[in-house]
């Protein structure tokens, strides 16, 4: 694909061998003063949107203005996402680890004067523990971080993703060097097998076995082998791949290169969603820098091994996360899946053995090589080893990205790390595994989060989206939402999926309208089964999950809709009415002005009323009301 050279800080020399890499790392560490303050300003999408670039700029200015003595002039580093997005923009001072949250441009002056000059923390910018109410000064003490175990995300937030020197300083590409110089391809595969690494993309297939299979096929009919990094993170409510690619692109590159070495591949592709421009940019820079250092391309680290990477931009199709569809689009075709077998590991890109792994999976590989399979297998639980990154979103206090060892219970993630549900004592359900995952009710809060346990309760690990829902969320509506999503994303190749999703939606719409009958619920079951069994690819095969799990755990809600014509959560438009609480209403007229139907009346400074006959339940008034006087029932 076309790449204008956007690399910065390109080294002008190649690393002739592994020793040179070590030397280079040493030299970088050499010139860095470990005691020098480094101000880290998070430049994850979240923080950027909240204005972190402004903050960084302001910092530079006022530090220059403050006229500190040379040796204490801090280095300002813009890094990838720290995960704690709900508290952005985040500013962290290293090595002390002082943690400032929700920093605004206006706070910068104070930070510089108080912290840098006087060396005291700015109390009001610290994170306060909602439980104790105590301010917490350092990131590692904040529960959100305390209970995490960061393996794949270890560097994110510490390094500048656009500067390979940072990566190398923290030991990047050491695993590659180790693999290339001290291990045979077979040993690498064995290591991955022993580590028990499972695909982080969704199905959780054992990566090592997949690789072995591909190698055998390549031996049977010789020719090129390809590796693909799947960064087409289509699951709504999931952004760990994005964070990884934006914050530590070299980890992905290194993992893929090691994999390529193990598989004897010389060309690789990273398939990134078009909606992730920053990820594309950082990866391109990383590739450029790695090439220039001889960590990618011809004769890597002087070992004679050649491997190069190319970025393909996704074009907007969820189904392209399915590997055969992804291959189709890599070949410039319509992204329709083809039936498996044959699996890509046998006949993939251009009909050759192809290994497609999620970028997070690739991100795990260097660690396995560096620290050893034993160490890795020690993390998590048997059959689900290592850690998994989750994007913890929805109705939870600490929205953000968390990496935890497999096997940790849902409750711990949501309560300890996530800090519980805002305004309510318990969550209602957790949706995992993206649109074709399932909803797990509060009752199953002790379910350990690993591949098999989640599948057992009808959900799935998926790529790691974890959406927390509270009492204000209607499960019928949620299921409907996912169905609608899948209907839009269905490629339409096979009938059960193309027509089936539409058909299921028809049932759901009936429920949402308060129509339908218990009989419909049984029909829906049988239809769902037909779609599951009949569909051509995984997208269709798993598409009924949201319905089936909600039916399983929240059947009463379905009945409430179908029989009592009520939406307990007050979401489904046709079953709710908006009204204004005269107690709370201060007559500011905002709602009246915002109402597209003009069906809200009332004099200034006097309580308003809604003419429900004309109301289209668009919810404008509720969203706009400054005092929250609009109620829904």
């Amino acid at each position: 694909m076309a790449q204008e050279s956007i690399a910065r800080k390109i080294e002008e020399f190649r690393l002739p061998d592994a020793a040179a890499l070590a030397a280079y790392q040493a030299s970088i560490l050499e010139e860095r003063d470990p005691n020098r303050t480094v101000i880290i300003v998070c430049h994850g999408t979240g923080c950027i949107a909240n204005g972190s670039p402004k903050v960084a700029g302001a910092l530079r200015k006022s530090i220059a203005a403050a006229g500190l003595q040379a040796q204490v002039i801090p280095e300002i580093k813009t890094t990838g996402c720290h995960g704690f997005c709900s508290r952005g923009p985040l500013v962290i001072l290293q090595p002390s680890g002082l943690f400032y949250q929700k920093v605004k441009e206006s706070d910068v002056e104070e930070i510089v004067n108080t912290t840098l000059v006087e060396g005291k923390p700015v109390e009001r910018l610290l994170y306060t523990d909602p439980k104790t109410g105590e301010p917490i000064a350092h990131d590692h003490d904040i529960p959100f971080y305390k209970y995490q175990q960061r393996v794949v995300l270890r560097n994110i937030g510490k390094i500048d993703p656009t500067d390979i020197r940072d990566t190398i300083a923290v030991g990047g590409y050491q695993a590659l060097a180790k693999a290339l110089t001290t291990m045979t391809p077979d040993e690498v595969i064995t290591a991955v097998e022993k580590a028990g690494l499972r695909g982080r993309g969704g199905a959780g297939f054992l990566s090592g076995r997949k690789w072995r299979f591909a190698v055998e096929n390549a031996r049977k009919n010789p020719g090129p082998v390809y590796v693909v990094g799947n960064g087409d993170e289509g699951d709504p409510g999931a952004f760990m791949d994005r964070t990884l690619m934006e914050g530590d692109p070299h980890a992905v590159l290194e993992g893929m290169t090691i994999g390529a070495y193990a598989l004897g591949a010389h060309q690789g592709y990273i398939y990134v969603r078009l909606e992730y421009p920053l990820a594309i940019k950082h990866l391109s820079i990383a590739i450029e820098q790695a090439r220039n250092l001889g960590l990618l391309g011809e004769n890597i680290l002087g070992t004679g091994f050649n491997f190069d990477l190319q970025i393909n931009r996704g074009a907007g199709a969820f189904v392209c996360g399915e590997e055969t569809a992804l291959i189709a689009s890599l070949e410039g075709k319509v992204g329709e899946p083809v039936p498996r077998p044959p699996y890509p590991a046998e006949k993939g890109l251009r009909g050759r053995p192809t290994i497609i792994n999620n970028v997070e999976t690739w991100g795990n590989v260097p660690q396995i090589i560096e620290k050893g399979a034993k160490w890795y297998a020690g993390i998590g639980v048997p059959h689900s080893t290592g850690t998994k990154i989750f994007s913890l979103v929805g109705k939870v206090n600490n929205v953000g990205l968390v990496e935890v060892p497999m096997g940790i219970t849902l409750e711990r993630i949501i309560d300890e790390i996530g800090g519980g549900v805002p305004g309510q004592d318990r969550f209602k359900a957790v949706q995992t595994g993206g649109p074709s995952g399932g909803c797990i009710p509060y009752e199953l809060k002790d379910t350990p989060v690993d591949f098999d346990s989640l599948t057992k309760v009808g959900a799935m690990m998926g790529s790691g989206g974890m959406i927390v829902m509270d009492q204000r969320d209607c499960m019928v509506d949620v299921a409907r939402y996912f169905l609608h999503f899948l209907e839009e994303e269905s490629c339409g190749k096979c009938l059960p999926c193309r027509l089936g999703l539409k058909a299921m939606l028809e049932y759901m719409d009936r429920f949402a309208k308060g129509q339908g009958s218990p009989q419909d619920i049984d029909d829906l079951h049988s239809l769902a089964r037909a779609i599951m069994k009949g569909s051509l690819c995984a997208l269709g095969g798993t598409s009924p999950n949201p319905v089936l799990t909600t039916l399983k755990y929240f059947k009463d809600e379905y009945l409430a809709h179908a029989v009592d014509h009520k939406c307990p959560a007050g979401v489904c438009k046709d079953l709710i009415t908006y009204s204004i609480d005269p107690e709370l209403c201060n007559g500011c007229r905002v709602c009246a002005r915002s109402c597209p139907q003009g069906c809200i009346s009332g004099e200034k400074k006097k309580p308003h009323t809604i003419d429900t006959s004309a109301c289209i339940r668009c919810g404008m008034c509720m969203d706009e009301c400054p005092v929250g006087a609009v109620m829904v029932a």
Binding site: M1, A2, T45, G46, I48, A49, N50, C85, S86, G88, E233, G234, D235, P236, G237, A238, F239, R242, L274, E275, Y276, P277, N312, R313, G314, A315, G316, A317, F318, S329, L330, E331, G332, K333, V334, G335, E336, S391, V393, G394, K395, V399, G400, Q431, G465, I467, D473, V478, Y481, F482, F485, E489, C491, S594, P596, C618, G619, M620, D623, E624
Partner: protein, 152 residues
């Protein structure tokens, strides 16, 4: 302005005549003309040796491709799960009324595109709306109205 052969040549020269590059080439075309003009589509297909029917199928299959001229400003409303739970759907409906255009289309005066996107991966900021590549975190009707006014 509509396609010029020079601009096209500059794009096509990047790709060897191989059907594999269809999607990338179309993406470049879209980046250049901010939609895919028919002439450009023909040229790309011709150059890569794929039948027009396939080029068309690909361009209509993938959501990111636009076959009609784009407006001056692009509004993308995120409908990811988090945003959905926090009222993303209501935002779109609001904008549809505001601009009097359906999602996925361009206002008659070509001033705004209204699009929805499955997830921009900024769930912490839900509901999110992306206006001309600027994220509008935790946005609301009122905030959006202001943003649009500034653009006009």
């Amino acid at each position: 302005m509509s396609v010029t052969f020079k601009a096209l040549e500059n794009i096509l020269e990047r790709y060897p005549p191989n059907s594999e590059h269809l999607i990338s080439a179309l993406q470049d075309v879209q980046a250049k003309f901010n939609y895919i003009p028919p002439e450009a589509m023909n040229a790309v297909c011709e150059h890569l040796g794929v039948p027009l029917s396939r080029g068309w199928a690909v361009a209509t299959f993938f959501k990111s491709f636009r076959l009609n001229p784009r407006g001056m400003h692009e509004i993308k409303v995120c409908l990811g799960t988090a945003c959905h739970l926090k009222g993303g759907a209501r935002l779109v409906e609001g904008l549809e009324r505001e601009l009097n255009v359906c999602r996925g289309h361009t206002t008659k005066d070509l001033s705004f595109d209204l699009d929805t996107v499955n997830c921009v991966g900024a769930c912490a900021l839900a509901p999110v709306v992306v206006v001309d590549d600027h994220y509008q975190p935790n946005t609301s009707h009122r905030k959006l109205r202001k943003v649009l006014k500034d653009l006009k």
